[in-house]
Amino acid sequence: MDLTGLPTVTPTDREAVVRCLREASAAHTRVLVVGGATQLDRGNPAAVDLVLSTRALDRVVAYEPAEMIAVVEAGCTAAALRDLLRPHGQEWPVDADDDATVGGLIATGAAVPRQLGVGPLRDSVLELECVSGDGRAIHTGGRTVKNVSGYGLPRLLVGSLGTLAVIVQAAVKLRPLAGARRTLVAAGGLPVALGWLRSVPLATAILVHGDTAELRLEGWADDVAAQTAWARACAPDAHVGDDAPFPQAAPWSHHPVVAEMSVAPSRLGAVLATAGCDAGGLVGVGAGWAGLEGAAALDRLRRRVESLGGALPVVRGPGGLGGTLPAPAIHRRIKAAFDPAGILAPGRFWGGL
């Protein structure tokens, strides 16, 4: 989405967000919430009048390492959070660009490359402070690792793309950084990747792109070594990179259009076959990314993915979200309750909400 020429407000506290949204609702000013601006293309086209940047909401609110929970404001970047946690041997396992913000990551609910081992982003969000479209400060969830005190509204807000409320603060669940980390890269594509899924029980991630398969191992050094041996049984020539990044390659990222795919895990092969060589998929998870040339290729792949019961939102370039909204009436009522004036990025969400 192109934001040039749009006025930007950069509130420094929640009260300022409240004031801004009250005024915007009263004046019917359409607002796009922006964090690190890394995911602006995710969503359907939406015309807006004002950008609300969360970048000045970047404080660490509470971090007690012994609790394995960090509470930060929404504009805290992935890099800043990583630097905060690393000295204590902890991480929020979301694998994002340095500039991405915690609030933005939660609002997009982006796929996590290591999801097989660390779980999806949505399961790590414990508490959210947010401000509804009409400027009501709302507290949801709580700062404990288990909680069924009322409805699970944090789950509603994960992936809501800034169309229900502005997330101003989040408490996220952390995990200990693994002692040993290793990425194996081998030729052989999907058959090798599926072999690993069967024979490497604690794989943190398995990615396949083109003829290449990547295996991520994290944990106790002895376990990583044992699993490397098992992995080599499927791929004797696998190259081992200790402390190497994961993924090693993202061939989809060089394309003008990048789409994120989601299908039942066993459908991945069928989707990758349609997507062409610059696509990658997470085996055992069913998420992936496809690099595409333009609208025709996107259409073709989206039809394939949706016929398999999946979804294929574009995350970079034009093309929007696609998909059909289930229970549209419920969606509309929730949107109307949180954003009665309809000012939060109208049209950006699934189904043009």
């Binding site: 009322g150 069913g286 909204l325």
Partner: protein, 469 residues
Amino acid sequence: MAADPLTLGLYARDASIIEGGCALVVLPSSADEVQACVQVAAREGLAIVPRGSGTGLAGGAVPLGDALVIVTSRMTRVLDVRPEDRLAWVEPGVLNQDLADAVRPHGFTFAPDPSSQQASTVGGNVATNAGGPHCLLHGVTSGHVLALDLVLADGARVRLGSEGPLAPGYDLRGVVVGSEGTLGIVTAVCVRLTPLAPVVSTCLLAFPDPLAAARCVAACIAQGLVAAAMECMDQASVRAVEQYVHAGYPEDAGAVLLVELEGLAAGVAHAVAELGTIAGAHGATSMRVAADEEERGQLWKGRKHALGAVALYAPHYYLHDCVVPRTRLPELLADVYRIAAEHRLLVVNMFHAGDGNLHPLFVFDRGEEGVLERVLTASQEILERCVAAGGVVSGEHGIGLEKRDFLPLLFSAADLGAQACVRQAFDPDGRMNPHKVLPAGARCGDFAMARGDGDLAAAVRSLPAGTWI
């Protein structure tokens, strides 16, 4: 369908201390039949109470007044097990244990393992976002539900979530999990399957007192020891368990900790050693590692039967559920014992220590004059202490009727208003399990309710007409 007094009496309560009453009970055997029942209720303007096995502890399945109770206990088919997709579709009446048993031959399990797993349904687990010992590592039910089919109050059917990691729209699947039957009736669940751990080691540690055990748990979390489960039982629980199932717990210990570590052989051995070091530094007097599957089963049998075993002490119980930040666990546990003593009550503690999830269990004889009042007052003080320490009022049992008037301890009127809006979006006429979860004053669009103080005794007294405790 049943309307005879005996059946109606049977379905008038769950495993909480709250008793209601209903007009009609139906036991449909398919989603189509559920839909037909809901349509009749919609036409007649009847309230609907979804119900699984009735093991809920917060009164969520307790019907009030002219309600139609829809019981899922005849919907027990495992529809589809798909190891290649790491998922299974099941009907809501399938028992938690039966699901685990059905997927084990494929090398998988259903990770949420409430102590009630032999009796509670998957539908009930979804509706309460149930937890269990192994949720420490694998997370609670919400992380294990990929999709679900729901019959809404107006009879419409929707599928929420997806077999893949992402579904179009807001995460309504995630909102239905933990909604205690107030958004619709779950008629099918797509659960995520978790691979069975290659190596499991179960350790029993003895401590001189429960506070030492709690400090050990906090230290393990702080030092990044990743355990699959960390369960604490105090001496009163241990003694009851030993009389009841002979699990082999040391009866002279002030408390025991049951810790399970899973992974690969080397890593588990490292973790067991690390656990030993941390426990030693926190006063553990012994540590036993189960030698085989049988011993392991025996140790877990003790934990899973602890609640039943406590009946030894007195005929009635009131089981609490609240969560605190894990560093505050020792302090809160001390408060629980102090509060019980101040009210001259016997309290037994057996809880999911690794998650900071306390389960103070008051054991009493209702025949004793004024005892229930004392139990309720003590319960309220415990909840207030938990909230003051940064905790929440329920970790896994839910709010139901029991704790709805305590939500204002955690949420402002606007917060509760937002929750009421979401509920109304699913059920505009308010016929789906009415009176549950949200306090009476919480309304969508009207945020008049002030942040008030909960009062359990008053709250229970103010329960809608027709309920008894």
